[in-house]
């Protein structure tokens, strides 16, 4: 279980608070979307979680332990694929294990396994430049899984893709989530994406962020796109858009 407890955060040297006493929790195995307008502080949440920035007040805990004493507790996938162009697909996927000092035989084995699971094994020896944007994101996802933790932080991973590729990858991600049984925190500013993917949506409507509004998505898995057309879901979509709009106008 992940918990933010009364977290305060301001970027060093800035005056504008980003988080102000924010608390929320995420249970193991959940798929949660964090929905909010651009510039609202969503990525900042991840930067705090993966240790790139340090909070000034409160605590972030995983299974009751402060993250400051923990290592390899989350795997972060950035918005851009950030594949290293001088490495093959396979070498890119192995990078986190290499850094962690996993021995070569195990690296090779786990990577092969992972590439098969994400349906990319025939691209193992290719370079990122040989891949389409969608495939690159899948490689990036495989690399994230290879970082080995149970908590996946995905920061708008599909926002730079064309809409068809994006829809394909959303469905693909859900299949992966079922297979891998890991906790997913998924940042997006796209209402439909949040509804389609997640069990719960944490909506950010204020700045600084004092709380998140938690909304359950009343849909079972496996999901299909036509579920988005149910009246109840359409209403939810309108509500969310309304909530996000208010923030922009304020």
């Amino acid at each position: 279980m992940l918990a933010f407890n009364h977290v305060d955060f301001t970027y060093p040297g800035e005056t504008e608070k980003i988080l102000d006493g924010l608390s929320f929790q995420v249970q193991d195995g959940e798929f949660i979307s964090i929905l909010g307008a651009s510039g609202g502080g969503k990525s900042t949440l991840f930067r705090l979680l993966n240790g790139l920035e340090t909070i000034q007040g409160g605590s972030i805990e995983i299974d009751g332990k402060n993250i400051q004493g923990l290592k390899h507790y989350c795997s972060y996938m950035p918005q851009k694929d950030l594949l290293f162009p001088w490495r093959t697909v396979e070498q890119n996927v192995m990078l986190p294990m290499e850094v962690a000092g996993v021995d070569k035989a195990k690296r090779k084995k786990d990577c092969g396994h992972m590439l098969r699971r994400v349906e990319l094994e025939e691209y193992a020896k290719k370079y990122p430049r040989d891949l389409s944007g969608g495939m690159r994101q899948r490689v990036s996802f495989a690399r994230t899984l290879c970082a080995g933790s149970n908590l996946l932080l995905l920061d708008e991973p599909f926002s730079a893709l064309d809409s068809i590729t994006r829809i394909n990858l959303q469905e693909w991600l859900l299949r992966q989530w079922v297979k891998f049984n890991r906790t997913v925190l998924f940042i997006t500013h796209d209402v439909e994406e949040a509804i389609f993917l997640s069990q719960k949506i944490y909506v950010i409507t204020e700045k600084p962020i004092r709380s998140v509004e938690q909304i359950e998505v009343p849909l079972p898995y496996p999901r299909t796109r036509d579920m988005l057309l149910q009246p109840e879901i359409m209403r939810l979509k309108e509500e969310l858009i309304h909530a996000l709009r208010q923030k922009v106008e304020a």
Binding site: N50, G51, Y76, L82, F84, V99, P128, R129
Partner: protein, 247 residues
């Protein structure tokens, strides 16, 4: 290929023009014809290649070797510690405004007409661009990639070996392509200061004899060598840096 054809065609045209002009002027001590240069090269090829070429190339090899080690080390040090960068970089830049060939005589005072003197000249001529290019290469590392590595728990050494070094590699090849041909030219020019031989030295001797064709002949060898080295570097670059088009 087509582009090359244009270049070759224009080159041939220039040589033809030169030939015509030389025939018209008809004074080989002022403007020798390409044919006369070629004949001078053929006639002296033996002595040029066995005596003078090795003298020039020895300095090129030692000089660029030192420049590479020095330049790369300095670039790494500046990348490692910002204080070193702040201390060294401005001095490096200012030092470039000093014309190396004008202060070269002072090395003659210190070391005489020796290989050492000429090696110093070559090092001074080349190491700056190596340092700056490699350093820029390190700096071209994407912040986001550094952060991603950090989330994997990368140590500073891992950041350097797995990210900064590969990022800098294309820049390193740029440095090589600029500096090595320049080292060949520098080595030959340094021989003007006084040397037991060498292509530049030989060329200058021919000038004393008013033998213009003989003067140009060794220069052809210098150009050919510089060109050849440049091509070799490009070849290696293509094999090693397969991803350049990407960034």
């Amino acid at each position: 290929m087509k582009k090359k054809l244009y270049g070759l065609g224009f080159g041939a045209f220039l040589i033809l023009l030169w030939q015509l002009l030389a025939v018209k002027i008809n004074a080989s001590y002022i403007l020798p014809s390409p044919l006369q240069v070629w004949q001078a090269l053929q006639k002296n090829f033996g002595v040029i290649m066995t005596k003078h070429f090795p003298i020039t190339m020895e300095v090129v090899l030692i000089g660029s070797g030192i420049a590479l080690v020095l330049g790369i080390s300095l670039a790494i040090l500046m990348d490692l510690d910002e204080r070193i960068e702040k201390a060294v970089y401005p001095i490096l830049t200012v030092s470039q405004t000093i014309p190396v060939l004008c202060i070269a005589p002072i090395f003659v005072l210190w070391f005489g007409y020796t290989t050492t003197t000429r090696v110093i000249v070559v090092v001074l001529l080349t190491f700056f661009s190596i340092t700056v290019n490699v350093f820029d290469g390190f700096k071209a590392t994407k912040q986001e990639m550094t952060e991603l590595m950090a989330t994997y728990g990368a140590t500073p050494m891992q950041q350097f070996m797995k990210l900064r070094l590969p990022t800098a590699l294309p820049y390193f090849f740029t440095a090589l392509k600029i500096s090595i041909p320049w080292a060949v030219v520098g080595s030959a020019i340094a021989e003007w200061l006084g040397a037991p031989g060498g292509l530049g030295n030989y060329s200058r001797k021919m000038m004393m004899d008013l033998n213009a064709a003989g003067l140009i002949a060794p220069l052809l060898v210098i150009s050919a060598v510089a060109l050849l080295i440049n091509m070799l570097i490009r070849l290696i670059e293509r094999l090693v840096v397969t991803w350049r088009a990407e960034v």
